[in-house]
Structure formats: structure tokens, C-alpha cells
């Protein structure tokens, strides 16, 4: 990959901005259309949250299982790993065996972490 100037970067990603604007216009127009066409009423009973016909007991923002948190932590580790591996994957073929073993060591450390989490039962849904 050849290096790029800042102008080129802008011109490369300007279409993203334009597509975002176009998509935004579409979504907003769809929502506005429903605002114009659909009936709206401010009835108190209608705004009750859905709970299979019962009255909801308390606010929904209550406790959530800690399992999700563990998975989130594990995910961050592997996501950072992906950030490191992508540049390596592009330049690896030119560099050779040394790069390979460096990455093997890196992944081995991460794998040890995953193995530890597995052993500790973090991957077991209880």
C-alpha cells in the first residue's frame, strides 16, 4: 500500500459522509411520513410497557447477570489482538520466519489467558 496524503484521505472518505447524509435523509423522511400519516394519542394506559398483559412491576433497568460482563472483558482482549494482527497479516509474507514466531508467541500468551478463563469457568454459562 502506498502512503497517502491527507487530501487523498479526505477524498477517499468523503463518500462515507455523503452516504451517511443520504441515509439519514431517508430514515428521517420515513419517520416523518409516519408522523404525518399515523394517528398519535397521549393516552396513559397505551404507554404501558409490554409485559404479557400484566402491569410491569418496577423499572426495567435492574440487575443483569455478571456473565455478560465477563464476556465483554474477554472480547476486549481479543479485539485488541485483532488490531495488532491485521498489520502483521499484511506485512508478514515479506518479513519471514521471525515475524511468524513473534506472532505465535503473542497468540500463545493470549491463548493462555483464554485457557485460564476457561479453566476458571468464565466460559461456563451458569
Amino acid at each position: 500500500m502506498e502512503p497517502q496524503s491527507i487530501d487523498q484521505l479526505y477524498s477517499n472518505y468523503l463518500p462515507v459522509l455523503i452516504a451517511t447524509i443520504v441515509g439519514f435523509v431517508l430514515v428521517i423522511s420515513a419517520l416523518l411520513g409516519s408522523r404525518l400519516l399515523a394517528p398519535f394519542s397521549r393516552e396513559r394506559e397505551k404507554a404501558t410497557t409490554y409485559e404479557c398483559g400484566m402491569l410491569p412491576i418496577r423499572r426495567a433497568s435492574t440487575n443483569v447477570g455478571v456473565r455478560f460482563y465477563l464476556y465483554a472483558i474477554l472480547f476486549i482482549i481479543f479485539d485488541v489482538e485483532a488490531v495488532f494482527i491485521f498489520p502483521w497479516a499484511l506485512s508478514f509474507v515479506g518479513v519471514g520466519a521471525q515475524a511468524y514466531w513473534v506472532m505465535v508467541a503473542f497468540i500463545a500468551i493470549l491463548g493462555a489467558g483464554l485457557g485460564y478463563a476457561w479453566k476458571k469457568g468464565a466460559l461456563q454459562w451458569r
Binding site: 477517499n12 462515507v16 443520504v22 411520513g33 455478560f68 465483554a72 485483532a82 497479516a89 511468524y100
Partner: protein, 484 residues
């Protein structure tokens, strides 16, 4: 006693050769096949002629281009990107400045993507519902318009007219955001997909990373939706969705890393170019990466074997339980659009993209890509009609214990193979790599399944308790043919 003439006992009429309900449905119901066969002759002739003319003109232009007597011009409709380039040159020649021509072409591309996705969404809902009906031996939508083709349009009109409720206690600002936030990434992710050599909206050199990054944005929208709805089902569904999406994002990115290793580029057009240069699909070289990508994508977009986050039998509709009217419609549209997007990405990364072993010279490449997208989409619908859904713990365990270790192992394998391919110049090397990878896939999967404990249960027929207790066992055995 009257003497009636002795007539031979009436034999029941022999059933037709294919008397299954499905066959009857195909014979009676107006299907696409029926439409094509029963159309009046002039329509048939005109359609066939138009199709033939299209392909013949394509082939003629393709021949002239390959022969060197023509260069790519606006009349070369194998690649619509050329036409946009011509328009840009024309605008530049009029002295309208690079900015205007730039904006005009970018707008054309954006509107093109949008209208394509919108049109495909409308047809896609119809196709999915009709196909599912076929799988479940029913008719499917066939009332609105010819063959029910206008059903999605009717649904959209109905959704626009419905009231959008805001539940009590919801966080109003956050509740407004998610339909917008979830729709725009789903559209932006189509950008780098190449439809033809120059027909790509956003051919950036980090296209692969861009696709991963953009498609992971929707996690935020989904969590905002679940959190702001003030509903237990929505919150739980959002939690499940987020946990699943982040878990399955890792196998996706690792399987795409193998693609980057082989092709040495993150540019989507270069990845397609590598596959057409080597006349080989990457999905054949690394079947496990293809499987990982496909399966993990079903989890990322909440499609059926992995749609526990929207399991309507336990948590109503998951994170968008409280959304109604057009907002729910947007969520549904995004779900379908993502399925098609995964089809496009799988085709681009693993199935050769817009190329088909030289056929792209003669017919428009975007048609080839469309056919591949439809094939992957058909697979999605097939899975939806066939498989039950997995439990959440099974899904998470499958991602972390099976897919991630194995895809890391296969990434190491493909790193070695990529460096061998770059250094050794042997004619049949790619085929050897293919065979080696297939063997390695079988061995690794069997071994690791044994480590994790995923052995297939032995197929033992047990006596149903109810049958023995009620006493129907004898009858059952008689029906089977007298086996004790």
C-alpha cells in the same frame, strides 16, 4: 333380493405419481415457474428475445473490448462504473470543477446503493416469505398483486400508517436514536463491495477493516434500544444480542485475517482480483474460514439458528419489543438487509466476488454477484426453515471454545501456506494447499470436538415411556412389521 348385474369391485383410482402436498401446491398455486410456463406466447417470445439481445450485446462488446478495438465507454454496460467515470470526465470538461463532479458522482453512488438495497429489501421479503411457505408446505403471500409481489409494499404502507408508541418511563432521546443508528451502518457497509472492476462506491485500501468496523457499530444501537425501552424483555434481549454479537465478531475477524494473509491486501477489489488471477475461490482453499464466517454471521445478524436474542417464544421480540410502526419496520428492514450484506461479503471474500472463471468478460459482473448473493440468501432462508434455535449457553460456548481456538489455529496454518506460496513457484501448488487444508480441517475439527466434548450422541432408539404405559406398544410393533 334383486338381481343386480355383478359388477367388478370398484378399484380405487391410482394416485398420481407425485401426490405430495408440495407437488400439488406447485401444480395448482401460481408459482414463478407456473407464471413462466403459462404466460402467453408473445410475452414468452419477447422476454426470451430481450434476454438474448442483452446477453448477445454484452458478449459482442466484451469481445470487442478484449480484442482491443473498443475501450471501456459508457456503452460498455458490463461495468456501470465506467459510465459514471465518463460522466465525471464530461463534467470536468465543462469546467464545472473537480468538487462538483466529485459530489455528483458520490451522490449517484449513494442513491444507487440506497435504491438497490431498498428494492432488494422489497423483493427479499417476498422471496423469504414465499420460500419459507414452500419449506413449510403452505402458500405464502399470494393475494396482493400478481403472486403476492406487492405484499412488501402493502406492508410498508401499513407500517407507515401505524402509531409509534413511546412507552412510559422510556428515555425519550435515546429511544429515538436506534432506528437511525442501526439503519445507516447497514447501508454504509455496502460501500466497499465491488460489483464490477470499477463499480464500487468506496474502493478504499482498508476495505476489510472498514467493513468489520462499520458492521460492529450496530451493537451500540441495539444496546441503546434495549436500555431505553424500560422493558425487561427488551433489556434482556439487548444483553443477549450484545453478548452474542461481540463473541461472534472475533471468529469473523480472524477468519477474514486468513483472507488478508493469502491475498496480501485489505482492499476488496484486490481480494476479488486475487481470486480471479488464481482462478480459485478462497472458500475452497479455506473451508473452515468460510464456515466460520457464515455461521458467525448468522449470529451477528440474529438469523435463525442463532436468533435466541429475538426468540419470540421467550423474550417477545428482543431488543425491539417496544418499537412499533415505522421504527419496528426499520429494524426489520435492517435485519433483512444485513442478511443480504452478509451474502455479498461472503461472495466477495470467499466465493470469487463478481467473477466466475472468465464468465464476467461476457455478461455483466454485477449479475454474477447478484446470483451469488441470492445463493447465500437462499441458504439463510433454508436454515431458517430447517433448524431449531440453539440455547444461549451453547452458542457462547461454541464461539469461545470451538470457533475461536480453531480459527486461530487455521490462521497459523494459512500464514505458513501464504509464505510458501509467495516463495515457491510451482504450478499446482494451490491445489496441493487445497487438499492439505481439507484434510487439516477434518483432522482439527474431529480432534478439537473431542477435546471440547462435542461428540455426536449415539443414535439409540429408546422406548417412549408414554407408549409403553398406555399400551400402544403392540400396535406400534405391528405397524413396524412384527419385529419383537
Amino acid at each position: 333380493m334383486t338381481t343386480a348385474p355383478a359388477s367388478p369391485p370398484r378399484r380405487p383410482e391410482a394416485p398420481p405419481a407425485l401426490a405430495t402436498p408440495m407437488a400439488r401446491q406447485i401444480r395448482e398455486a401460481p408459482t414463478l415457474r407456473g407464471m413462466l410456463t403459462r404466460a402467453p406466447a408473445p410475452v414468452k417470445v419477447a422476454g426470451a428475445l430481450a434476454g438474448l439481445l442483452f446477453f448477445a450485446a454484452n458478449a459482442a462488446i466484451g469481445y470487442l473490448v478484449i480484442d482491443g478495438r473498443l475501450d471501456g465507454h459508457w456503452y460498455d454496460f458490463r461495468d456501470l462504473g465506467v459510465a459514471v467515470g465518463e460522466l465525471r470526465v464530461w463534467l470536468d470538461d465543462r469546467g464545472l470543477g473537480p468538487w462538483l463532479s466529485y459530489w455528483v458522482t458520490a451522490l449517484i453512488g449513494a442513491v444507487g446503493i440506497l435504491s438497490f438495497v431498498g428494492g432488494v429489501l422489497l423483493i427479499g421479503t417476498w422471496i423469504e416469505r414465499r420460500l419459507l411457505a414452500k419449506f413449510q408446505i403452505r402458500r405464502g403471500p399470494n393475494r396482493v398483486g400478481p403472486f403476492g409481489l406487492l405484499q412488501p409494499l402493502a406492508d410498508a404502507i401499513k407500517l407507515v400508517q401505524k402509531e409509534v408508541l413511546i412507552p412510559r418511563g422510556a428515555d425519550r432521546i435515546l429511544f429515538y436514536l436506534p432506528p437511525v443508528l442501526v439503519f445507516i451502518p447497514a447501508m454504509l457497509a455496502w460501500g466497499p463491495v465491488p460489483w464490477a472492476p470499477t463499480m464500487s462506491y468506496l474502493d478504499i485500501n482498508v476495505g476489510l477493516v472498514y467493513v468489520i468496523a462499520i458492521s460492529s457499530l450496530s451493537v451500540l444501537a441495539i444496546f441503546i434500544a434495549g436500555w431505553s425501552s424500560n422493558n425487561h424483555y427488551a433489556l434482556l434481549g439487548a444483553m443477549r444480542t450484545v453478548a452474542m454479537m461481540i463473541s461472534y465478531e472475533i471468529p469473523v475477524s480472524i477468519s477474514l485475517l486468513s483472507v488478508a494473509l493469502f491475498t496480501g491486501s485489505l482492499k476488496l477489489s484486490a481480494i476479488v482480483g486475487w481470486q480471479s488471477d488464481h482462478t480459485m475461490w478462497l472458500g475452497l482453499i479455506m473451508p473452515f474460514a468460510l464456515f466460520t464466517f457464515f455461521f458467525s454471521s448468522t449470529a451477528e445478524i440474529n438469523r435463525t439458528p442463532n436468533d435466541i436474542a429475538e426468540a419470540e417464544s421467550e423474550i417477545v421480540a428482543g431488543f425491539h419489543t417496544e418499537y412499533s410502526g415505522m421504527k419496528a419496520g426499520l429494524f426489520l428492514a435492517v435485519e433483512l438487509g444485513n442478511a443480504l450484506l452478509i451474502g455479498a461479503l461472503a461472495a466477495t471474500f470467499f466465493l470469487g466476488g463478481y467473477t466466475f472463471f472468465g464468465l464476467e468478460q461476457w455478461i455483466p459482473p454485477y449479475l454474477i454477484l447478484a446470483v451469488k448473493i441470492s445463493a447465500v440468501y437462499f441458504l439463510f432462508v433454508w436454515l431458517r426453515g430447517t433448524l431449531p434455535r440453539f440455547r444461549l449457553d451453547q452458542l457462547m460456548g461454541y464461539a469461545w471454545k470451538f470457533l475461536i481456538p480453531l480459527s486461530i489455529a487455521f490462521m497459523g496454518v494459512s500464514a505458513v501456506e501464504a509464505s510458501i506460496l509467495a516463495r515457491v513457484d510451482l504450478p499446482g501448488l494451490l491445489l496441493i494447499v487445497l487438499v492439505v487444508n481439507a484434510a487439516l480441517t477434518v483432522v482439527f475439527v474431529r480432534l478439537w470436538a473431542r477435546v471440547v466434548g462435542y461428540e455426536a450422541p449415539r443414535d439409540e432408539v429408546t422406548m417412549p415411556a408414554l407408549t409403553t404405559s398406555v399400551g400402544g406398544l403392540r400396535a406400534a410393533q405391528r405397524l413396524r412389521g412384527g419385529a419383537s
